[in-house]
């Protein structure tokens, strides 16, 4: 009984984090802002949802595989997000600026070979 309650609570937290990441992907104004929302919310949402499933399943080989998936997502998802952000920065995608803000100051101006 207590296992099911804990598993349901963790899965609900994970689905809430997925919902907030989706909201950020839809509503935020810029590519970097969208990546900022999804990169963290998806990683932590996958952690909570899969660990909830592992708690519900109990101690066996399947739970070990689920924990392995969690560890892999925890390494791979920030790496993929960083690679996409680096590709955008090297292709000189301008970040979104507020009106009247420092327009030239934060713009990426790196060469392609560096």
């Amino acid at each position: 009984m207590i296992d099911e309650v804990a598993a349901a609570a963790m899965i609900l937290i994970g689905v809430f984090l997925f919902a907030s990441g989706t909201l950020g992907l839809i509503r935020l104004p810029d590519f970097y802002c969208r990546m900022h929302a999804t990169g963290k919310c998806d990683t932590l949402g996958a952690l909570f949802a899969l660990l909830g499933l592992a708690v519900y399943n109990g101690w066996n080989l399947v739970s070990l595989k689920i924990v392995f998936i969690v560890a892999f997502i925890f390494i791979a998802n920030p790496t993929a997000t960083h690679a996409i952000g680096r590709a955008a920065l090297l292709n000189r995608v301008r970040p979104w600026m507020k009106e009247g803000g420092p327009a030239e100051h934060g713009a990426p101006n790196r060469g392609r070979e560096k």
Partner: protein, 88 residues
Amino acid sequence: MVDFFLWMSIALGIMILICLHRGIRGPGFLNRIVAVNVIGTKIVIVLAFMGFIYNRIELFVDICVVYALLNFIGTLAAAKYLERKGTL
């Protein structure tokens, strides 16, 4: 508990449809790559839920492993290609 997994899967499916809107209409290739990455992560969770719904989790968990690997490889390949070429 199976009903709970089913409702959570339906909620994740609705979120996947919302992300697909960004994947179709998002300006530029980078937004589309981010949307595909997000959809892949959600699909892994939905596959784990489906394993518990069908009571075949020892089969579906291997599909989850393969899907997570392919999602990472695909996103990384697209990002590295964009970094080299500038456009698709």
